[in-house]
Amino acid sequence: MTVDKIDEKKKIIKTIKIDVDKCNGCRACEVICSAFHAAPKYSSNNPARSRIRIIRDPLRDIYVPVYAGEYTVAECAGRDKYTIDGKEYDECSFCRASCPSRDEFKEPDSGLPLKCDMCEGEEEPLCVKWCLHDALILEEREEEMEEEVEQEDLEIGLESLADKYGMDKIMDAVVRMNEKD
């Protein structure tokens, strides 16, 4: 999910709806993603550089397209396994992170993290365009910005920090951060 600001009050939320039941496991999404993000554009392709991956295990009927999300320094302490409709999904199957625990979403040679950018500049993400079975569907919706709510969130957060560290320390930290800027 990414957010484009259109004015003070509204934003467009882009969501890719993933229907794992419709995925045919062909990996065209990985092909076009890696080609689009090659430099120069389309000059090469390599699914190992793709920002979308199909977690794929045909004999267990597992097909999960996952988009590269944020990079994380540390792997999770505990990991979960899910059973859905009788199929057991491995730990990390649904996770979008570029993480030390696995080699998904990293450049194969440098190891630098990859992140989906929804194919900036294109009408729609190309993985969506190349998926003829609608396993990937782009949805856009406008949402009101709720600044007050964000303000509330901020205050709740600060209050909890003040409770923990004391108001003075919080003030010091704010001043220091200001100076850095």
């Binding site: 045919n24 496991g25 062909c26 990996r27 065209a28 092909v31 076009i32 080609a35 090659a38 120069p40 554009k41 389309y42 000059s43 090469s44 392709n45 390599n46 699914p47 190992a48 550089r49 295990d57 045909p58 004999l59 267990r60 009927d61 097909y63 194969p108 190349w130 003829l132 079975h133």
Partner: protein, 674 residues
């Protein structure tokens, strides 16, 4: 820099355990493209006619098509080439799936196996790291099972595995190489892999494949994708269902099998069952398929869902596509449930789904007619289904009669003797065919059956409608958006083709000349696919396919950076097609071998058939015995073939007259006995 291809082959000497990464000559790409084309060249250069299938000097070449690994939709085929134990000729069986692109990403265009490993091994390719590893723990394991074990063992869930089952290990002449949802099945290439002591090749690659003109290339790819969408929304009217839509015949999706079950023959390709498809059967079979099928699935980078994952109660899950759905069912006069169940076992054993049921039905017919006796089948169950399972096990283990049957109907019949040869009636060039028995000889199909060197009709047909449309207005409508034709004249040929009447009807229409042109076009498109790695299901097999003679040259130019146009591509395809024939001519193939299955048509036209073959040979630049002439070889830049032919006395130095044939089938059989 090399574009589309990697420019490297992996040479593996199994006898010495030596592995080398060898740079290839870009001039060979210009002349023979890649895939089948360069495979044929390597085989010509390195495997002489004296080398037998199970000799350490035989090569087993896994060639990824030239454009595999690029974003071209549906371009994912591995072309496996070797000398076949069944035909003793060059064989090139192909598989889709995911293996060829992975090999390209690992940095190789081909894996070339030579020699023999003393112990069972597997090859592990992970980018630059390539190892021959012990596979003794995989001996006797199923082909799919092997893939799963290796991926787990190596902790490489993304690796692609091509493996053989017990049939390959025991050198069954119709053993396949299986790869997840695809297989290279024809001609016994799995037996050659087993003979070399290689259980599997595991590939993982994370490198780039480059294209020469990125903007142009992606534009071409997008056009193809758009046209696929158009074709999916607009099936071709007036042709049978499997031809109206793209892809391999959609056997995993369709329930209505009236056409196959009533028009194809059952048992040992003998019995037509005209009223088989009742409502009761339809309901039962639909239920069987729907409860077994978990998902329709695709090969690499292709939207067509030609395959399916099948899970039957009590059996491991496996994958299937196309007509294997019905071959076991019809061979055993049984139902779909039986067919899908035994196919699971046969897939793990790694067997060709066309040949295997026919060999088993052939054996049971011989028993029924007293040529084989109960003594040949100790402890065999009484019911046909039970017998099929019994025979399957005997064949893959080469036990008892199974050892004979494991060589296919042709060689088994020769060994059994006593009139058994009459029962191996559905072969071309010793290979079992689809069980089709028809009435009137069709000139196009006659030439395709006779001269095809892929030994499979589906691997040469396509492009041109199989039959005329009843009304001219329908034909006019059909040709309106038929832009795929390489020449406008083909539209006229079709427009004038009448279903009934005195003029322009089968078998004397299309005329001999037209037939030659049509067959040549059809074959050419398959050969182009096989060099590029393109699936026939989006290309040569179809009427109005997304890939055709007009965009292929552009794909090659923008993709591989080779200056290409229609004429140059035609010439290149002709060059390596001729080289395939040259390999086979050198191994003794001649005109006498170029015949359709004996009883394929009831009504034959010997004079017309002779004229067809005479004219087609001439059209192809072959002499009257099917041998490429010196002149035509010279035109294609294949003088080295001509020289070899002269040296061997296949062609004489003065003229292109056929030499007395000494390496006939009989001579080969004699040699076999010794």
């Amino acid at each position: 820099m090399r574009y589309a291809e990697t420019g490297f082959n992996l040479e593996v000497d199994l006898t010495r355990g030596n592995i080398e990464k060898v740079a290839t000559d870009p001039r060979d790409t210009e002349l023979y493209l890649g895939g089948l084309g360069t495979n044929a060249k390597i085989l010509w250069d390195r495997v002489g006619p004296e080398v037998e299938a199970f000799s350490p000097d035989n090569l087993l070449i896994f060639g990824a098509g030239l454009l595999c690994g690029t974003p071209a939709t549906g371009c994912n085929r591995t072309i496996v080439t070797t000398i076949s134990p069944q035909t003793k000729l060059m064989v090139f069986s192909m598989m889709g799936g995911f293996w060829a692109p992975e090999l390209k990403y690992a940095g190789y265009d081909k894996v070339i196996l030579r020699g023999k490993s003393p112990d069972l091994v597997y090859l592990y390719i992970n980018n630059d790291k390539v190892e021959i590893r012990d596979a003794s723990h995989l001996s006797g394991k199923g082909a799919i099972e092997t893939g799963e074990i290796l991926k787990k063992e190596l902790n490489e869930s993304k690796a692609q595995v091509a493996a053989i089952g017990m049939a390959g290990e025991n050198r069954v002449y119709y053993a396949s190489i299986e790869q997840g949802r695809s297989s290279a099945s024809r001609g016994g290439i799995g037996a050659v892999m087993g003979d070399k002591g290689v259980k599997a090749i595991v590939v993982r690659g994370t490198k780039d494949i480059n294209v020469a003109d990125p903007e142009k290339y992606i534009e071409l790819c997008n056009e193809v994708l758009e046209y696929i969408k158009f074709r999916e929304e607009n099936p071709i009217p007036g042709v049978m269902a499997i031809l109206s839509r793209l892809g391999s015949p959609q056997e995993m999706a369709v329930h209505d099998e009236k056409w196959h079950t009533e028009n194809f023959s059952w048992g040992n390709s003998r019995t037509r069952r005209k009223d088989f498809w009742t409502e009761e059967v339809a309901t039962e079979w639909k239920e069987t398929l729907e409860s077994a099928r978990t998902r329709l699935i695709s090969c690499y980078n292709c939207p067509m869902k030609c395959g399916a994952t099948l899970s039957l109660p009590g059996l491991p899950t496996y994958m299937m596509k196309c007509f294997t759905k019905l071959t076991y069912t019809m061979g055993a006069f049984s139902n779909l449930e039986f067919g899908l169940r035994i196919a699971q076992k046969a897939t793990e054993y790694g067997l060709d789904g066309y040949s295997t049921p026919q060999v088993m039905a052939f054996a049971l017919e011989l028993l029924e007619d007293g040529i084989l006796t109960d003594k040949d089948f100790p402890e065999m169950p009484a019911d046909t289904e039970g017998r099929f399972y019994y025979l399957l096990d005997k064949i893959v283990r080469r036990e008892g009669i199974g050892d004979t049957l494991a060589n296919g109907t042709h060689w088994a019949a020769k060994e059994i003797g006593n009139g058994a040869e009459e029962y191996a009636h559905n072969n071309i060039k010793k290979v079992e065919q689809l069980p089709l028995k028809l009435f009137m000889m069709n000139p196009i199909y006659y030439l395709m059956y006779c001269t095809g060197e892929k030994m499979n009709i589906t691997q040469i047909e396509g492009q041109f409608p199989q039959a005329p449309f009843p009304k001219r207005e329908h034909r006019e409508k059909f040709v309106k958006d038929w832009f795929q034709v390489p020449d406008e004249k083909f539209k006229q040929y079709f427009l004038d083709w009448e279903m009934r009447g005195e003029e322009n009807v089968t078998p004397f229409y299309p005329t001999v000349e037209m037939t030659c042109e049509i067959v040549d076009w059809q074959e050419k498109m398959h050969y182009i696919d096989d060099a590029l790695g393109m699936c026939a299901g989006l290309s040569s097999f179809h009427l109005k396919p997304p890939y055709h003679m007009h965009n292929f040259p552009k794909f090659i130019t923008a993709g591989a950076g080779l200056e290409m146009d229609q004429d140059k591509l035609t010439k290149a395809a002709k060059r390596y097609r001729t080289l395939v024939r040259a390999n086979n001519i050198r191994r003794g193939m001649r005109r006498k071998d170029e015949v359709p299955p004996a009883d394929h048509w009831k009504k034959r036209f010997p004079e017309l058939e002779k004229e067809l073959l005479d004219t087609y040979y001439q059209y192809k630049g072959w002499n009257n015995d099917g041998i490429p002439t010196k002149e035509s070889l010279h035109e294609l830049g294949l003088d080295y073939v001509a020289e070899d032919f002269v040296k061997r006395g296949i062609l004489t130095d003065g003229e292109d007259s056929p030499f007395e044939d000494t390496s006939s089938e009989e001579a080969m059989a004699e040699k076999e006995k010794k």
